[in-house]
């Protein structure tokens, strides 16, 4: 509403008309509030013409006149910093010769003092780490993943080398799926040989996974722990309903780390973590896997669980202060990642992007270690982590984006 009132407003016909309609309006409403009206007058008199049949009371006029702002109102921003009573435990993966192993590289994860990448309040000491999957037998994989190592899938040692040397895996995640009684029923002893071969082929730490068979996994992981004694591998995984005691004992005896896996349940996660601690594992020997669902297939559960766990740990819950493992290569199970579809566009791009977006989400929610499949995801996530740690100085100008982003 903009009414410009001059000095002689009482005498102007149009103002009189305006007042008349204003009065009628007021009669209907009872009162009037002038909002955002700029009044440029020394003194203002409302003269309402007496009219036949017009009996409305002269209303109270409240003025809410905004001052004309001439200069920018200055305000200072100060970062809303919080401190947390708890710290996430730092876990060292792999052991060098002097530490009783044979790895040339060891990786540290965890140790957070704040939520992921909240570097305005604290710098978390360790960057998230990247593991790449290999299997102890050729398996069905999406073509866009498979093409990068199809020629070495029959040889886990060569496959491991490819992941480390060509694609930059910081950790190799060896999945002994052939031990599944329904697949090849490979014996724990045979499986342990594969572990030895891979340990010799690469100098990075290992994650050693079973087949998911509840009865067999503890035996397989036990045998693997023995041949890898002192290497501080990650045994994947102890569950509430498998023989987690056997796995914990093997880890303790041979200096390894155990993954505590629970399916989407924070209370069971706490319970399992406590059970493993009770078995004599130190906090530095446990990593938790609260289940990673793929983008579009329950990732919402995963991200909220990870945030809850990380926050609980930072707030001081000792049962949830372990670093988080996220098997984001699970995203290849989503049909959007591998299925041919005109509607969804080329799967060669869509597939790796599906894995990358799943990983970004798990990383922002609190994941510390990722299992990945596609080399492009590894490259992009590594670069992203370096950026978020401020390790790359950028000279990016965005001020003119409106004109400068092309067609």
């Amino acid at each position: 509403m903009a009414i410009f009132l001059g000095d002689e407003i009482e005498e102007k016909e149009e103002i009189k008309a305006l007042m008349k309609s204003l009065a009628k309006f007021i009669e209907k409403l009872g009162d009037l509030e002038l909002e955002n009206v700029e009044i440029r007058a020394e003194e203002l008199t409302f003269i309402i013409q007496p009219m036949v049949g017009f009996t409305a009371q002269i209303p109270q006029i409240t003025q809410k006149v905004e001052k004309k702002i001439e200069t920018l109102l200055k305000a200072e921003f100060s970062p809303p910093i919080e401190t947390y009573p708890g710290t996430i435990t730092e876990v060292k993966i792999g052991a060098t010769r002097s530490e009783g192993g044979s790895r040339r590289k060891v990786i540290k994860i965890g140790g957070e003092k704040t939520m992921p990448f909240y570097s305005f309040e604290a710098l978390n000491p360790n960057k998230p780490a990247i593991a790449m999957d290999i299997f102890d037998m050729p398996i069905e994989l999406a073509k866009s993943v498979r093409q990068h190592f199809e020629d070495v899938m029959h040889d886990p040692a060569e496959w491991a080398k490819r992941q480390v040397e060509d694609f930059g895996a910081e950790i190799v995640s060896l999945n002994l799926i052939s031990t599944d009684p329904l697949i090849k029923d490979t014996s724990p002893k045979e499986a342990a040989k594969t572990v030895e071969n891979v340990l010799q082929a690469v100098d990075v730490p290992l994650i050693i996974g079973g087949s998911g068979n509840k009865a067999k996994d503890p035996l397989v992981l036990e045998a693997a722990a023995e041949v890898a004694s002192g290497e501080r591998c990650i045994l994947n995984s102890a569950n509430i309903d498998n023989d987690y005691k056997r796995i914990a004992r093997a880890a303790k005896q041979h200096n390894h780390i155990v993954v505590a896996f629970t399916p989407m349940d924070i209370n069971n996660q706490k319970k399992l973590n406590r059970l493993l601690l009770d078995e004599g594992l130190s906090k530095e020997q446990i990593i938790i896997d609260p289940t990673t669902a793929a983008l579009g297939y329950g990732l919402d559960y995963t991200l909220s669980l990870m945030e809850r766990i990380k926050l609980a740990g930072l707030l001081g819950d000792p049962d949830l202060q372990m670093p988080i493992l996220a098997s984001t290569s699970n995203s290849w199970g989503a049909r959007e990642a591998w299925m041919k579809s005109e509607e969804w566009g080329p799967k060669e791009y869509r597939g790796p992007l599906w894995e990358t977006v799943t990983t970004i989400t798990a990383m922002m929610a609190g994941g510390d270690l990722f299992m990945l499949s596609h080399p492009a995801t590894v490259r992009i996530i590594k670069r992203l982590i370096e950026s978020l740690y401020g390790e790359v100085n950028a000279d990016q100008r965005i001020q003119d984006w409106i004109t400068d982003i092309g067609l």
Binding site: S119, G298, D300, W344, T356, I360, I380, S387, G390, A394
Partner: protein
């Protein structure tokens, strides 16, 4: 709403007559609905009476979310952003899904503009009962020509029904678009107020009653100053663009800024920063000589990153569906209500017209799994029975690993569904991802278990091989 708001403090501002006009038994029940945002003060008819005017105003202020809800556009495609109550979705739920806009440049040829608008508007993917869509179009004035821009704005407005973002830092250009672009009464978002242009810009926003974005890259004190100034002028529909850099240490700064803005508003009650935040992942396209595939990929990553850290509005450039699909799907994930399980009812479903020889399939009650399987069976024209197992709303792989999907539940489902009386054979097809349960299910039910494909898209070819 801030944590201190209690049921009683909300109740205090209600009429307390227990009239029931809102559909609740009494005012206390209504207060509880207001508190967890299942109702708005609008739903209480008596509150609209003049005598409650003051009370209503106080109530609205009391329950206002710390992040203002800002409405962009008008009519059926109106987009609401902001309105957030919490930092993390598990604390309550996130309201108002991130709006996604795609840009159109006024330097494009007219027919290309029309084509692009139609393409953007037609993007539509059905997923778990939702339709995923792009919400807005951002019209960029790259020509720096007011006449061209206002012409293109009107062309875009005529070509599609999506709300618009009008992008130029020159208030004269935006004025031209509002005067001649036929969008003056459609509440486009005006992008953007800066340290240089705020005087003319704010006049424009007031005159046309449009929401505005403030732009001050990597400078939160300036963001606060601009907003404070706009508020004093009487502008309250504001969107914050603190810059969304996508590279190196600047990306780190941008992510930090997003977090700090949101935390300052929610935890510190900073009224200057209690507005929706926007990101412009489209800036990845400013790099010259870049492969379009690389740019689209990077842009989708940045959009996902910023959406994970509180972005309420995104302006993107790619129109490639393979790059947009993950972003749209992520939005659907982040904005599901964590208070509601994403599941369907367990039990028996009849697909097509099955008879006593028809196959029997098993799946879980996770909504997405169920809809995918049911849809694949229907579109393949398979007459069959589909048993839906209560796996506590989890997908097959996860629930098999976690034990929610187990043989004794299969046996119970046999009994409760009565499937044994509906078919003459004793063959059950289970999901490929549940293969390891084959033996146990056979032992427990006495049925033969056939391991189906790992993905239901393969069911048709599977059936021709394994089902005579």
């Amino acid at each position: 709403m801030p944590e201190k708001v209690t049921l009683l403090s909300v109740y205090r501002y209600l009429p307390q007559t227990n009239c029931g006009e809102c559909g609740e038994p009494n005012c206390m029940a209504f207060a509880s609905k207001l508190l967890d945002r299942r109702a708005t003060p609008d739903n209480c008819p008596p509150l609209k009476k003049p005598k409650y005017k003051e009370q209503l105003a106080k109530l609205i202020e009391l329950i206002a979310p710390p992040i203002k809800e800002v409405k962009l556009g008008v009519g059926e495609n109106l987009v609401k952003i902001g309105g957030k109550e919490v930092m993390y979705r598990h604390e309550l739920t996130y309201h108002n899904p991130t709006a996604i806009a795609i840009d159109v440049s006024d330097t494009m040829d007219d027919d290309k503009i029309v084509e692009r608008c139609k393409k953007i508007e037609s993007i539509s993917i059905v997923r778990i009962g939702d339709t995923l869509k792009v919400n807005m179009i951002a019209v960029r004035c790259a020509s720096k020509d007011p006449d061209r821009f206002s012409y293109v704005v009107s062309l875009v407005a005529r070509s599609c029904n999506l709300p618009l973002i009008l992008c130029s830092f020159d208030p004269k250009i935006l004025r031209a678009a509002l005067e001649k672009g036929q969008v003056a009464n459609k509440r486009p978002l005006l992008y953007a107020v800066t340290e240089e242009n705020w005087r003319e810009f704010s006049e424009l926003a007031k005159q046309y009653d449009c929401p505005v974005a403030v732009f001050a890259p990597n400078n939160l004190s300036l963001i606060k100053s601009l907003i404070k100034t706009l508020q004093a002028i009487g502008i309250h529909d504001i969107v914050i663009d603190a810059g969304s850099y996508t590279e190196g240490n600047l990306l780190r700064d941008s992510v930090n800024n997003f977090i700090m803005i949101r935390r300052a508003a929610i935890k510190r009650g900073d009224k200057d920063l209690g507005y929706p935040i926007m990101a412009v992942p489209a800036v990845v396209w400013m790099v010259e000589n870049q492969e379009p595939v690389i740019a689209s990929y990077r842009e989708a990553c940045m959009a996902s990153l910023f959406m994970n850290r509180f972005a309420d509005l995104l302006i993107m450039h790619t129109s490639e569906i393979w790059a947009l699909l993950p972003v749209l799907t992520l939005r659907q994930n982040i904005y599901t209500d964590p208070r509601k399980p994403v599941s369907v009812e367990s039990g028996l479903r009849v697909i097509g017209k099955p008879d006593e020889k028809s196959p029997v399939f098993l799946t879980t009650n996770f909504a997405l799994t169920y809809f995918t399987v049911a849809n694949d069976l229907e579109s393949a024209g398979i007459n069959c029975y589909l048993l839906v197992l209560d796996a506590e709303g989890l997908a097959v792989e996860v629930s098999v690993a976690g034990g929610q999907f187990n043989p004794s539940k299969v046996k119970d489902l046999f009994t409760s569904s009565g499937i044994e009386k509906m078919v003459k054979h004793k063959k059950l097809i289970i999901p490929g991802l549940a293969a390891r349960l084959k033996g146990e299910i056979e032992d427990l039910t006495g049925w033969e278990v056939i391991v189906g494909p790992r993905d239901s898209s393969q069911i048709k070819s599977f059936l021709t091989k394994y089902w005579a």
